[in-house]
Amino acid sequence: MEWDWGFVIEIMPTLLEGLKLTLIITLVAAVLAAGLGLMFAILRRSTNPLIARPVAFFLEFIRGTPLLVQLYFIFYVLPDLGIVLSPFVAGVTGMGLHYATYTAEVYRAGIENVARGQWEAARATNLNLRQTWVHVIVPQAIPPMIPALANYLIAMFKETPLLSAITVLELMNQAKSVANSSYRYIEPMTMVGALFLIISLISVVALRLLERRFGRMVK
């Protein structure tokens, strides 16, 4: 089988459609992961063991099991409980939830990195718990952790092909669909790999810039 450039040109528009959806999924899932992760991190530090323990177990469980299986669960089992999510929503939720367990760890490191003195000072100046979190701890905890968070953004991007298993028409699925109807796997698969690599390399450069800007703040 020979490489056919004509075929590549023919399938590029379809692949780019898939890439667009891939990027959208990554961004939405990233926002979800960033938000949920912070919430999980805060809940995990709760002084109430009835909250902290189940949350900790839940996080360990999600982190210790494959995203693919979690996606199957959300897509096929939840409807039996009455929750029917569209493939896109199911995929974004699954990914966001899975990676929230990772970002929760990142936030935890960031929060623990904030000097004890800050907590005590907040107590001394009579700030309540919510004010302490919002105005003192979080603004200091987050910025040094931004490079680590961005790393997970890239990881999420690379895991989007898993969503093809729950019928989302992202890049990998488009490539498979093209390959199925033309019986050629060489060009679609190579192009998909190339596209991922290009976007990834761009992200790595952006990541290095972020590290330079924020990384200094880690003790």
């Binding site: 199957y72 898993l162 190579t190 998909v192």
Partner: protein
């Protein structure tokens, strides 16, 4: 009556394949991690370049895509790997690339005076690395290696998509035979979790053994 016992044994067969993939993949990843991690610190520039290209390439591409490529495209170049070998190679290369950064970071964080002491005592580069630097760097690498091993375990689920009969694949087969999605998938989720706990405990145990006597290394 549904033959649950038969189906459970199918899933357990898949679990054996998953365990095999995880062990062999981790071994391969370990080798690659040291090769590339130390390679990036090599005095010879081409070696450094090679290591960097390998690391950036595998950290920048998706495991799923790589698996498909190795499975369907590579045979045309004359290289036909069995699904199992393809899985081990791809997963090992991927996790190895992440591990390489860990190796590099850990080796770099060993205090400079250790290097100077080695020069003073007239140790060769190899002796220095093997007898002094690595033993101190290893405990630092272990926790992250443990995480990487768990990542590899989770990564094995993707090989089901190239029809390798791992645990996820067998769960799909059971699902198609019984019509139930909940039971096979819940079962394998529990099994995966159990396996990841085993890895965590093993790594923690290894850590404890390695830091015995290495008081206050961190």
């Amino acid at each position: 009556m549904v033959d649950w016992y038969g189906y459970l044994s199918l899933i357990l067969q898949g679990a054996v394949v998953t365990a095999k993939l995880t062990l062999m993949g981790s071994a391969f990843a370990l080798v690659m991690a040291f090769a590339a991690g130390l390679g990036r610190l090599a005095p010879v520039a081409p070696v450094r370049w090679l290591a960097t290209i390998y690391i950036e390439f595998f950290r920048g591409t998706s495991v799923f895509v790589q698996l498909f490529w190795v499975y369907f495209v590579l045979p045309f170049a004359g290289i036909t790997l069995s699904p199992l070998v393809a899985g081990v190679v791809v997963l090992g290369l991927n996790v190895g690339a992440y591990g390489a950064e860990v190796v590099r970071g850990a080796v770099l964080s060993v205090p400079k005076d250790q290097y100077e002491a080695c020069v003073a005592v007239n140790l060769s580069r190899f002796q220095r690395m093997w007898h002094v630097i690595l033993p101190q760097a290893l405990p630092l690498m272990l926790p992250t290696f443990g995480n990487n091993a768990i990542e590899l375990l989770k990564g094995t689920a993707v090989v089901s998509l190239i029809s390798l009969s791992d645990m996820t694949f067998q769960a799909q087969v059971v699902r198609s035979q019984t019509g139930s999605t909940l039971i096979p998938f819940a079962t394998i989720l529990v099994l995966y979790f159990a396996m990841s706990l085993v890895i965590s405990f093993a790594v923690r145990g290894l850590e404890r053994r390695m830091t015995r006597g290495l008081d206050g290394v961190r």
